[in-house]
């Protein structure tokens, strides 16, 4: 048997040997070379993506590191002072009183007119204000309300003159607020950039001091006046 095989090989080795070489080459190509080359190409793309991602994250971390935490907190506080996350009734009352006094008006009543309403991300609550003051200065008073740092818009005006350049004025004011966003971006998300306009606006907001709230209405004096 062995001798026959050897004889067979010797007779046909000129065909057998190339066939063996071709078969082994094919096996090497199919099972090793081709899959490895495909994997190399795939991994090359993955490597490029990974490197890009790591550069992006390192740059992002560097930008966040450079931000001064105290300054950022102050800026956020100013922005929230102007457009807070919740209804700030006391702040509004104090602010409206200040604006009224500055414009020469006296406030007789301030009321919250309705429950908050809003669509999307912007909410507002209505404030009603009854005042008395010079009719000729009403435009200035309204401009003072709408240009205040706190975002407010006059929604209705009712003017009834009661004397020479004196009028009873009833104003409806929409005061805006918005709950904080639910998500603040992921690790992969891009950081928002503050433009020159944003910095100017922040400077304008931070230049106005926060309105001091009106004095509390707690009772004063001795607890027992007969002592």
């Amino acid at each position: 048997m062995k001798i026959n095989l050897i004889k067979l090989y010797l007779n046909f080795r000129i065909f057998i040997f190339p066939a063996v070489v071709a078969l082994s080459s094919l096996i090497l190509i199919v099972f090793i070379i081709y899959p490895q080359i495909v994997q190399l190409i795939k991994n090359q793309k993955v490597q490029v993506d990974v490197i890009t991602k790591s550069e992006f994250l390192e740059a992002k971390a560097s930008v966040l590191d450079d931000l001064n935490e105290g300054e950022l907190e102050a800026k956020v506080a100013s922005a929230l002072n102007s457009y807070p996350a919740e209804q700030d009734l006391l702040n509004i009352v104090g602010l409206l009183q200040q604006v009224a006094i500055k414009s020469g008006f006296s406030v007789s009543e301030i009321s919250v007119q309705k429950i908050p309403s809003g669509t999307g991300e912007i909410f507002k609550f209505g404030v009603g204000m009854e005042t008395v003051g010079p009719e000729s200065l009403l435009s200035q008073f309204i401009a003072g309300i709408e240009s205040a740092v706190r975002i407010m818009k006059v929604s209705s005006i009712d003017l009834s003159p009661v004397g020479a350049d004196l009028a009873d004025i009833s104003l409806g004011i929409d005061v805006f607020f918005a709950p904080a966003p639910q998500t603040f971006g992921s690790v992969d998300s891009h950081l928002p950039e503050l433009s020159q306009k944003d910095e100017e606006l922040i400077a304008r907001l931070t230049s106005v001091p926060r309105v001091s709230q009106p004095a509390s209405l707690s009772p004063r004096g001795k607890t027992n006046p007969f002592e």
């Binding site: 935490e69 907190e73 003159p161 805006f176």
Partner: protein, 202 residues
């Protein structure tokens, strides 16, 4: 002398004469089958050499691709470690990111609202400034849509014409007034005109 040369016999002879090389004579006495066998063997050796070269080349390629794969996976691991570290760094700075996002979110709205007068304020100012002298206002109301209602007195009928033409003049009303409606107009025994106007906005 020229001799015929049979196909199985190569006849070469060499004569040296006075140091000069002449024709060479060699006689191959091997059998034909042996020569054919020898030819086949040489051919096979050539094929064998080529085959071995091919196999060695394939082995070399395999080793090369495997090595490149190993190198690539190690550099990929290093890059992945860098990404993990950077992600950890960004995660620890998440509060700052949150503040920045909140700040930008607020600024975008504030920018669009601050210092911009409402429609109601604009209509009030417009109407008030167009009131002629001698037109005594009893009441001015500005509603939610910016429509204005004026209740006024005047002794001069021309003031009524004046206020209406002022309100309808596009040059004076900044193209904000759509319509002016006289809800009521009457003249009392005292000669005073009492008028209720409604100004509709665009």
């Amino acid at each position: 002398m020229r001799l015929p040369i049979p196909w199985q016999l190569a006849l070469h002879y060499e004569r040296r004469c006075n140091g000069r090389s002449m024709e060479k004579i060699s006689i191959n006495l091997l059998p034909v089958e042996f020569i054919a066998e020898e030819f086949k063997r040489r051919k096979f050796y050539k094929i064998q050499a080529i085959g071995v070269t091919i196999v060695l080349f394939m082995i070399f390629l395999s080793i090369l691709t495997l090595s490149l794969g190993v190198l690539q996976s190690s550099s990929l691991n290093a890059a992945s470690l860098r990404v993990d570290e950077a992600e950890k760094r960004v995660s620890t700075l998440a509060p700052k990111q949150a503040q920045l996002v909140l700040l930008k979110n607020r600024l975008q709205v504030i920018e669009g609202q601050i210092g911009i007068p409402s429609k109601q304020a604009e209509m009030y100012n417009l109407t008030y400034n167009l009131l002629p002298d001698g037109f005594l206002v009893n009441r001015i109301s500005v509603g939610g849509e910016g429509q204005v209602q004026i209740s006024a007195l005047t002794a001069n009928a021309q003031n009524i014409d004046r206020i209406i033409s002022n309100l309808l003049d596009k040059g004076k009303n900044n193209d904000r007034v759509k319509n002016v409606v006289i809800d009521s107009l009457n003249r009392g025994r005292d000669g005073i005109y009492r008028i209720n106007l409604k100004v509709e906005t665009k």
